[in-house]
Structures are given as C-alpha cells and as structure tokens.
Amino acid sequence: MVHPLRDKAAVSGIGETAYTRGTPKSGLALQLEASLAAIADAGLSPHDIDGLVPYFPGGGIAEDFVANLGLPDLKLSVFVPMGGATCVAAIQTAAMAVATGVCKHVLISVGRTGYSGARVSARLQQFPQFALAAEFEAPIGMFAPAQLYAQGARRHMELYGTTARHFAEVAVVTRQHAILNGNVVMNKPLTVEEHHASRMISDPFRLFDCSLESDGGAAIIVSAADRARDLKKPLVTVMGVAEGHPESPASIAQRPDLLEFGLAKAVPRAYGMAGIGPADIDVAEIYDCFTFTVINQLELLGFCKKGEGGPFVMDGRIALGGALPINTHGGLLSQGHVVGLNHVVELTRQLRREAGKAQVKDAEVGLVTGYGDMGDGSIAILRRAA
C-alpha cells in the first residue's frame, strides 16, 4: 500500500539571505527576508501563508509573522524543538498539515545571528534539552556540541580505524562545492594539509571539522502537491519524510550506542514511505555540524556498512561527479549555519535543476537529513515530479 503522505506535499518555494559573518540586521529581520524570498519564489503572496513552523528557540514566533506579514488567517503555529533536526522534521509536520487540508501553504523559516549575536555556548543555555548536560557535564568541562560529539567520533576511530584524513576529505569536498555556490561564508579552497594544521578544538575535532558560526536566514514553503503543481516553479514533492528520537535523548553519555541516534530510527520509515532505498538517491544533503557527523550518518542512511563511513567518503565518491555527491552547496561547514534549512533549499534547487555550476546531472531523487540537540534525527526524500 502506498503511504498516505507520499508525494502529497511539495516544497514549492525556497529563499535565502546572504550568508555572512557580521550583519547589522536582527535574526528576525533575516528570517523575514528569507521568508519573503521563499514566498516570492513560489509565486505566492505573504497573505497566502496559513501555517508556520519557525525555528525555536531563537528567532521569530507566530506573533512576529502575523505582525510583519499581515497574515490574515493563520491556522497552524507549531514549534519542532529538535535543534539541528528541526528544519527537516518540520517538513513532516508541514506535510501532514497540507495533506490533510488544515493548511494550504506552510512557511518553515530560520534567521540567526550566530556570528554577530549570541555565540553557540550562550545559545545553548536557552535549550531545556540541554539541562542534563548543564547539570552533569558542564561542571566537569564538557558542554559544547564539539566536545560532546567528539567522544563519539573518537570511539568510531578506535573501533573502526577511521582517521583525520577521512574527516579532512569531507571538509575539503564541501569547500569545493561551496566555492561553486558563491553565496557562502568560506570561499577560498581548503587543502587536506590546511585541515590537519588547523587548531584542535576538542580532539579529534579540529577547527575545520566544525561548522561555521554565521549570520543568515533561510526559508521554504511546503504546499499541498496538487496546489503546488499550479505554482511558479517545477514541482518537487516529498516522497518520504520522518523524524527519530534516540535512546537517552538528552544525554549522549548515557546512550547505549553513541553511534546510533535518532536518524537510525527515521531512515527505514522514510525509505519505506518513499518506496525506495539508498541506491535510488542521486544527491544527498547531509547535516554537517561536524565532518564526522556526515560519515556517521552515511552509515545510518545505508550508503555503506557501520564502520565503513571513513573509506566511503574517499576517492571522489562524495564530490560532484562522484557516485553520491553530498552537500553540493557547501553545507554548514562552508556555506553557513542556518540549522540545515540551507540543505533543504539546495536539494530543492538540485531537483529543479537550478543549482548552476554545482548541478548534479539529471538529479531526480535526493535526500536531506537533520541532526541535532543530543542526537535527534530527521530525513526527507524529495523528488522532481514527472
């Protein structure tokens, strides 16, 4: 039986601001600017938006959107508090809303001043999901994601022989892709040697294993597929979508397997809904808060076996022209950190064949992941409609 949500929703509009380090604008202003761009891209008016899933905490809430966009009849306002897994998980929420007729057009948006405003350590204080880490791990000197996730990366290296060379490959390829995009924070080539020479943040993570702190906004519109067909841009539908929550969700330290997190639960459901598997994916935008996180997710996504993610990324496989091009826009590592909504924007562009120099030839089906908090996961499989 075909899943009732399969291909019932579409990503009908995409928008981004410039990605920078430094801006006089507020996070809300960036979020609204990207939202207006996405609404225009879809060929809609702001008054057509009747559902909202804004990134939270941090950024605009329903009241801000009604006040700024004059939304005449907002029918749904939802938060999906999953950190970096939020934006892709929000596609599931939005798809349910438009497929059931509760809403016509749902706006998912992020705006953040991650460089010029509150930096990462300060932002985390807002998250109730980090309360356990604040009580048990911050006092002993562990609090930032770079520290908490480093322990999983170290275990992967010890168990499977994964190396800094593998990490570097993810950073270098992502940078190559960023340069093709143009709207990126990091626009100079990166070499393996430069990666290895960058300062250690929390071993095994060096500076160039870590995602950017940047300023910017991104937004997408999710519409019912039958409505989106009549809109401005080529139809890109949501074939499969799922979120997953790991065991010990608020503490990585107590999780039975540090290398199995929410995405492991979401992946079979998303593939099941889409009726496809990893071999059918033409392009993948993988949440890249850290280089190693990409390697780990490639395993959970079934592109390779557990423990083989390091060798998998080598030899051009994940670069444009390779078997599985990933992060064709430069990702969080090189484009900008808008909590992964830029990954959804890029996948939509790829499937519309609007990705310019970074276009994956004949891209028909792609996936995008989210990864956040202490291991929540999300995945959406999108396709270009026939």
């Binding site: 009580e135 000197g141 609090f143 520290q147 275990r155 071993d203 107590q254």
Partner: protein, 142 residues
C-alpha cells in the same frame, strides 16, 4: 581618561543546580560516595536521576552506593575552552567511563597521558570538593 581598567572578574566555574530528582546523587558526592538511583520495584539502576523507571514505570526508588571502578568507553581532549573557567586547565582529557555499576560517568582524567588511552582501560572515580556543597568526579588509573 587615564583611569586604569579594572581587572575582569575571574570566570566562575559552572556548577550543578541539583533538582529534587538528583539531590541524593549530589549529597552522596559530597560525602565521597557514588550514589545511584535504583527502582524500588524492578531493582534496575538508572542515571541520570529521573522520577519514573523507564522499565516498569514505578515512581518508587532509592539511592544505593555503587562501586567506583570502570573502564574507558571513549574520550576527548578539550583544547578550546568554551567556558573561560577551563582556559587555564586546557588541554584536558575527559573520559567517558562504563562504570561497573552499569551506568556511564563523564569526568576529567588525571595522571594518564593521551597516548596511553584506549577503550577498556581500567579507571577509578575520585571525588573533588569544589565548593562547600558541590563535589565533582574525576578519574585516575585503577
């Protein structure tokens, strides 16, 4: 203006704020005892402390003293001090340890070189008072 700039205040150590669930754990630490929460019905241990047993859903529980030995599950070496309090200590090793009691503890590791770390290496938890109320764990070789 020629007034000297006042020295910035020393950064404060982040301290735990015990909850009604975790108070017994922190009381134990202060007494040099590793106290873990056990379900009163099914007997299973759980950490970090929480109100309901996820195995049998009982809300009845008690804290029992646990052994302080364990083995390295993984580690990181913190170079960048995300909190300025730890700047002077960096780089420092934080070991995640599979305690013999069946839970994990994350704590700084002392007296062992980075090159000597490996999964399974035996460690013992120690107790370091940092304020009158708060004692924090650390690890040394067993």
């Amino acid at each position: 203006m020629s007034t000297a700039t006042a020295a910035p205040p020393a950064p404060e150590r982040p301290l735990p704020a015990p909850t009604r669930e975790s108070q017994s754990f922190w009381d134990g630490m202060r007494e040099g005892r590793f106290m873990l929460q056990h379900c009163a019905l099914c007997g299973k241990v759980r950490h970090y402390p929480r109100p309901v047993c996820p195995h049998c859903f009982s809300t009845e529980n008690s804290f029992k003293e646990a052994p302080t030995g364990g083995a390295i599950h993984t580690w990181t070496v913190c170079h960048h001090p995300f909190n300025f309090f730890f700047k002077a200590a960096a780089p420092y090793i934080v070991a995640l340890v599979d305690m013999d009691a069946g839970v994990r503890v994350n704590a700084p590791l002392r007296g062992i070189a980075e090159a000597d770390l490996k999964i399974g290496k035996r460690l013992r938890m120690g107790f370091e008072p940092v304020t009158k109320e708060v004692t924090l764990p650390f690890f040394v070789a067993e």
